[in-house]
């Protein structure tokens, strides 16, 4: 365990060095991130200009979802997608062999291969959006709710990560994965909306098949203090299940790679 923490440290260091290597890009990234926050809010602002609530969600409440969406986007862009790009490149170039020959868990190595430090900005943006939302609601969040929301968010990150591992596993079979990751991003984009704004059938898909509800709506509800305990437990169980499934599929994909590649 301590060894893996140290490994994580070394990998983070390499990513940070890389980010600093290109100073102009580094600054530009940060600048761009601040601007990304604007399109995250515009759709919502447009909808709420004409009405006070969408489904049971008021504007202030919906901002909680946007806040978590922004946060998750930071996780996705900062931690998950860069590594995804690295694995796909490994598979394409055949350099995954080097990863598989290392005496450490291959899934861990590829998952931590690359970070985009600038995406941390999203975390601050998210906090800003929460503050704005609570301002709209005219109250402060309760500390207990923040705790529950954090747990719900952890479940969300695990789910997102697991979906990502499944996407990467697909790369072993199809090689051209860029379309797949675009699809992944397009679906993820739907997570900026509270899940209850979608029609019933879509909602079922987004809860159980592609668990957007788990990813943003649950943490938002938790922050508002309206998340049913059963939902929280469901989210945690779902996250554990997703993680286990992703692990199994990843192992099978690696086995296939080593038994078939060449």
């Amino acid at each position: 365990m301590r060894r893996y923490l140290r490994l994580l440290g070394v990998q983070l260091r390499a990513s940070l060095l890389l980010a600093l290597q290109y100073r102009a890009e580094f600054l530009l990234d940060g600048f761009v991130e601040v601007f990304w926050m604007v399109p995250a809010i515009i759709p919502l602002a447009v909808v709420f200009r004409t009405r006070d609530a969408v489904g049971p969600w008021s504007f202030g409440e919906a901002l909680m979802v946007v806040g978590w969406f922004t946060f998750l986007q930071g996780v996705l862009e900062g931690v998950i997608n860069p590594s995804l790009a690295t694995v796909v490149e490994h598979i394409r170039k055949g350099t995954l062999d080097f990863v598989l020959l290392k005496p450490a868990d291959a899934q861990f190595l590829v998952s931590t291969a690359r970070f985009q430090p600038w995406q941390c900005v999203n975390v601050f943006t998210a906090v800003g959006i929460f503050a704005w939302g609570f301002h709209e609601l005219g109250r402060w969040p309760r500390p207990g709710d923040v705790g529950v929301a954090t747990v719900a968010m952890l479940a969300a990150v695990v789910v997102l990560y697991s979906l990502w591992i499944l996407t990467v596993s697909a790369a072993f079979y199809v090689v051209r994965i860029d379309n797949l990751s675009q699809l992944f991003n397009a679906i993820f984009d739907a997570a900026r909306w509270p899940v209850s704004v979608f029609p019933r059938a879509v909602r079922v898909v987004f809860t159980f098949v592609i668990p957007l509800a788990v990813m943003t709506t649950f943490p938002a509800q938790a922050l508002l203090g309206i998340l049913a305990p059963a939902h929280l437990l469901g989210a945690l169980a779902g996250a554990a299940l997703a993680f286990a499934v992703a692990r199994v599929v990843w192992k099978a994909s690696i086995a296939r790679y080593t038994s078939a590649g060449g």
């Binding site: 890389l18 290597q21 080097f98 598989l100 020959l101 005496p103």
Partner: protein
Amino acid sequence: MQPVIRVRGLSKHYQVHERPPGMAAALRSIFHRTYRTVAAVDGIEFTIEPGERVGFLGPNGAGKTTTLKLLAGLLHPTGGDVSVDGHEPRRREDAFLKKIMLVLGQKQQLLWDLPPSETFELNRAIYDVPRAQFEETMRELTELLELGDLVRRPARTLSLGERMKCELCAALVHRPAVLFLDEPTIGLDVSMQATVRGFVQRYNERYGATLILTSHYMEDVQRLCPRVIVIDKGRLVYDGALEELVTRIRPDKRIVLRFSQPVDEADVAPFGTVVRDGEPPAGPAWTVSLDVHKDAVNRVVTGLLSKLPVSDLTVESPPLEEVMSELFARGKA
């Protein structure tokens, strides 16, 4: 001594999807696919003692790289047993992975945009090498490879040769006892090839590491590997000393003659087979190469010296490239 590598009846078969050309066949293949089994490696057996340097020879697609990957545990064998220092490679146990290294000349593990020293540091963490040992290894490798301050420049700014030296260094951070080198000198200029060869030999001598090398440059194999294993179409066709292989395939020696005045080919021909390299016979020549059976060399040289105006004479083994192409051509016949 116990062999470090033991391979018995090793085979690797692939299922290859096959379809005739054309649109109709392409559509048909969506529903009904036909597969053909290709044996990349087909029943190979050998053992290698600790500290040996062995060269894998064979034409493209012979199964050399597949065999290396089977030994490294990157591929699972279809049949047979492999044991490397008591481990079954396909299980890829940490203890096994810490003993081996694989360098692929056409692929690189160096972090592209960062200095190689960062890759070394990363590998140190992955292989769990104690700091003091790491520093010592780095000092030795830097000296053996003459790396200097290369390691502090971003990998993408290095030349191919400099990068290969750093690749070797990165792969040796954990001081592996078994080295798998797949085309380590590919694309390098002659002097860089010699540097890499020299380094590999010194590493082998200093640490007693076992090494298996594949290369397209016969010079690599000739200089580095007292023992060669020849693989053709997935089968082992020769295992033994390189010298012996050469005499077996080409029992001839090549006599290169220089004359003090032009000599007609017809005057030389009675002594042996004139080497023409596919060129038509020209008129009188200043130099002629002659292939002669090794047992007849003494007699022929004496005859040549007494009958012809020889100013210079050398006796060589035929180039390994020619020996190999002859060997593989025989395999096809």
